[in-house]
Symmetry: C2
Subunit: 364 residues, 2 copies
């Protein structure tokens, strides 16, 4: 039954809108309040009725009830990676201590999901955003720039060349260099790099490899540069055959390490840049009947409880994951509380945890 | 400079409110729009000015621009646990395929954080909520009931006795029973249970143990019941000395397995209910100079890439983590799309992945 507005003394109410639309009051309230689910058809009817009656909600009252959201939004590339789970923990602990809640979205390395996630956070009116972005090129950062127009944004884990804003990362290049130097000091010269840029065609030259790396994630590129730094310092010639090509999956790492073990002048050491690369490499060693550190040396990212209980325990790079998240939250919260937004890159130091997966290469 | 409203032709604008408050237009827009951070003092000034001028935002326009949020909210006990990361992935994949975004909050097993997280999700107007709750007793569920008054809620991973609503879990009791049966079939009768209820004083009797379990997480209690089921079926007497007591940490698991290895009639097998319990147990074995499966058998939750590359590889229970999340999202989305909200418990089956960490006990 349409509401008769001719007798109404004040502005239309939600009940009147509901009656005009022929829906329940709860449905009208949800539609007009913007919370909860309402089917598109009913929503349309409520909005038409509201327009017809000239309904206006009291936004001021709502703003006073919800207030400042005191919520940080976090976008990570893959919450299933224990590295990012640790970073999120650092963000949550710091923001909680300063009175902010934290909501997290995971993009699974998909740029379109990242754009959608950014929109969700702005739509949900978070006070600031921390992103570990999958964006690389200048053409992929429009969503981050749009977010920056609304709220402060801090990058975590991954620098993005096209963006000039506060960034909190670890010393990927130095960490990789130190690990590969340790392998070289132990006597290794044939050192596999797992994994490289995710390309279909393996790079034939060092220049091509670096060009591919620069079109991919900053983190991966830095780790590759650290590997090359260590080779250069020791005057070990670069061999493209020792760099993994293809998609960055555990299965692929297994296949590529198997390939590097099968070539005539085989690898005697392997450097892995991710946990899945480490477990992939270990599968290849077992399949080839090889043991570490006797037959092959191994160092990888990231240290974990498992790496410590392997027999022998693995020498691993430990990233300061909690500190990384805590620092990103601190930089963001300082900005929210009045500090000038910076354009600084904060670099935290990782640590090489020396255990027992590196010894001299087998006598050939 | 206060705005002079006497000449104003229409309703007051944001710019007029800003002028009245003596703040910038952006600050007024953020305050009145309810997004972004504004200091409490400036907010107060803007709201006073808005009230004085009779400012009303057009909520209808906002409702049309933001629309239904098409966002699911997820609260997990610990996003740092790969189990929950896998569940979240299942939720995200399913909700994405059906046009919904997913935002996640992690409570780190803290009930107060869970209450805050629930409020955040309602405040952010998600369309539905999935919770792996830390709540146990009737007195701990008021926040979930309050959420249920606003949006559909589905429980995942953990049933809560005081709540009668759609719940998606795995067959914890059967999974534990099957694993312990495998140990018994291999000849073990002294089987450690790591970990039990997190209590200061170890339980002295079976009844006390079960009473403590019922005051703790449903999942842990179910796994304990499965352990006891298997012992009962084999007529193996229950020995409270073989149940871990104390906080559920890797360090504590190490200390408790060391204790169980040091008693005269020592354990010959250990059943671990969490990944951290497994790595804790493995540390204790190494410290005691024992190898599995020769000196001791081991089965644990949850299977992982690491468990598969251990030498020997570990026999583990694989929970259907992705399916668990996907099912919870499906049940919630079906409700949002008009299905009657159920009060059903959906139980998914786990799998025992048999590898090489179980053999007969050492001859005594």
């Amino acid at each position: 039954m349409p509401a008769d507005r001719s007798q109404a003394p004040g502005p239309p109410t939600i009940s009147e809108v509901a009656a005009e639309a022929g829906v329940g009051r709860a449905t009208a309230a949800r539609t007009l309040g913007g919370y909860g689910y309402v089917s598109p058809e009913l929503r349309e009817r409520v909005l038409s009725a509201a327009e017809k009656l000239g309904y206006r909600a009291n936004a001021l009252a709502r703003s006073m009830s919800t207030g400042v959201s005191h919520t940080l939004g976090v976008i990570v590339a893959d919450i299933g990676n224990p590295f990012f789970a640790g970073v999120v923990r650092g963000i949550c602990d710091t923001s909680r201590a300063r009175g902010f809640d934290t909501i997290v979205l995971s993009t699974y390395e998909n740029l379109e999901e990242e754009i959608a996630a950014t929109n969700v956070l702005i739509d949900k009116r978070v006070d600031g955003v921390i992103i570990a972005s999958a964006a690389v090129g200048r053409g992929e950062v429009a969503h981050i720039k749009a977010a920056m127009d609304r709220v402060p944004v801090v990058l975590v884990d991954r620098a993005v060349a096209a963006l000039d804003l506060d960034t909190v990362v670890i010393d990927n290049r130095d960490a990789a260099r130190e690990a590969v130097e340790m392998l070289i000091t132990a006597g290794h010269r044939r050192i596999g790099f797992v994994w490289g840029p995710p390309v279909a065609k393996p790079p034939a030259t060092r220049r091509e490899l670096l060009a591919q790396a620069s079109r991919n994630l900053w983190t991966d590129g830095e780790r590759l540069r650290g590997y090359l730094d260590a080779l250069d310092d020791a005057r070990i010639p670069f061999d493209p055959e020792l760099v993994m090509a293809g998609r960055k999956t555990e299965e692929r790492a297994t296949a590529e390490v198997a390939r590097m073990l099968a070539i005539p002048d085989r690898i005697t050491a392997v450097f892995c840049t991710e946990t899945d690369a480490v477990t992939g490499a270990l599968r290849a060693l077992r399949a080839a009947g090889l043991s570490y550190p006797r037959d092959i040396a191994l160092i990888g990212f990231d240290d974990s409880a498992w790496a410590a209980v392997m027999e022998p325990p693995l020498t691993m790079i430990a990233q300061p994951v909690h500190e990384l998240g805590a620092k990103a939250a601190q930089v963001l919260l300082d900005t929210l509380e009045g500090a000038e937004p910076g354009r600084e890159t904060h670099t935290l130091r990782s640590r090489l945890i020396v255990r027992a997966s590196v010894s001299a290469p087998p006598a050939s």
